[in-house]
């Protein structure tokens, strides 16, 4: 379930940044949201962090990770910045959390789920994604097509696939394996 308040928060930032098309300039938006982005090497399992200190907020991103992951990390940290006051965050893995049931999650997981939603809302705004794949969406098993769209948005195919499913823009046509005529 997508939380409309989170979507609205992401939309506000996109509007503020006058973002009209993909790929969303996530580093610029971080600055606009009031954070300084610093890059560097972190332990392998750390994607990034949001460090809040009195003289400013810093988003750190692990540059050992792929560009798409770095972009998602920054967007995720902006999510913490915008949605979750008064704490710093260190982020290990994002995606497994997606699969957990929101209702049974601990509060800690919930903030991560929210930051993930914000990241998806920010990097793959519904409007732009619809424009890219059409209102009917695309076949998420059509690897080249998913890849192409993911590249346009600067996200991983995994992140895009989740997003397409969440926005009901995923057409799944498993049956006739061979003839992918669409």
């Amino acid at each position: 379930m997508l939380d409309p308040r989170i979507t609205a928060a992401a939309e506000r930032l996109l509007t503020l940044g006058k973002v009209q098309r993909e790929p969303v300039p996530v580093r610029q938006l971080a600055k606009l949201a009031g954070a300084l982005v610093r890059r560097g090497t972190l332990p392998e399992d750390l994607s990034g962090f949001l460090l809040r200190q009195a003289d400013g907020t810093i988003i750190g991103v692990n540059t050992d990770h792929s560009e798409t992951r770095q972009r998602f990390t920054i967007a995720h940290e902006i999510g913490h910045l915008v949605l979750h006051p008064q704490q710093s965050y260190v982020d290990r893995r994002f995606f497994p959390i997606h699969f957990r049931d929101q209702r049974s999650s601990r509060a800690e997981d919930l903030v991560e789920i929210q930051a993930n939603q914000f990241a998806a809302d920010l990097l793959m705004p519904k409007r732009l994604l619809e424009a890219a794949v059409g209102r009917k969406g695309i076949d998420i098993e059509d690897q080249p097509e998913v890849e192409r769209v993911a590249q346009r948005f600067g996200v991983s195919t995994q992140a895009l696939t989740y997003r397409l499913i969440n926005l009901q823009l995923a057409r799944s046509t498993t049956p006739p394996k061979k003839s992918s005529k669409r």
């Binding site: 506000r12 503020l16 790929p23 300039p25 996530v26 580093r27 610029q28 606009l32 949201a33 009031g34 982005v37 610093r38 890059r39 560097g40 090497t41 972190l42 332990p43 750390l46 962090f49 460090l51 809040r52 200190q53 009195a54 003289d55 400013g56 907020t57 810093i58 750190g60 979750h84 006051p85 008064q86 704490q87 710093s88 965050y89 260190v90 800690e108 903030v111 600067g154």
Partner: protein, 120 residues
């Protein structure tokens, strides 16, 4: 909407939390320790007010600050952070190992050389 104002909203509470923490530390360092109850009584406040001051929820007023300093036998300078600096960091929501913290500090530290993160 001004984002600078939002940043201030994050920064300001940190100062009060730090002051509160300092009060709590100095209070327990006295010999014998000063209880919240006796500090409250001396200042004509409720114990809950002291709790709120100590956890930074209540933004302490200057005259109360003087009162607390006097009760603890210190000056107000001893209760105030030197500057709004990194000491006022917000704690991490999750557990962070020492190793991770060191890496985070390293990445967060200002870079000596020119700006590195240009582009989208």
């Amino acid at each position: 909407m001004s984002y600078d104002a939002d940043v201030d909203e994050q920064v300001v509470p940190a100062v009060y939390r730090q002051i509160g923490k300092r009060i709590q530390q100095l209070r327990s360092l006295r010999v014998p320790p000063v209880s919240q109850t006796s500090l409250a009584a001396a200042l004509n406040l409720s114990r809950a007010s002291i709790t709120n001051i100590e956890n930074g929820r209540h933004r302490i007023q200057v005259h109360v600050l003087y009162g607390i300093a006097a009760e603890l036998g210190v000056t107000i300078r001893d209760l105030l952070p030197e500057s709004l600096d990194r000491a006022a960091q917000y704690p991490f929501a999750q557990h962070v190992t020492q190793n991770e913290r060191a890496a985070i500090e390293r990445v967060a530290a200002p870079k000596k050389k020119g700006v590195r993160n240009a582009g989208s």
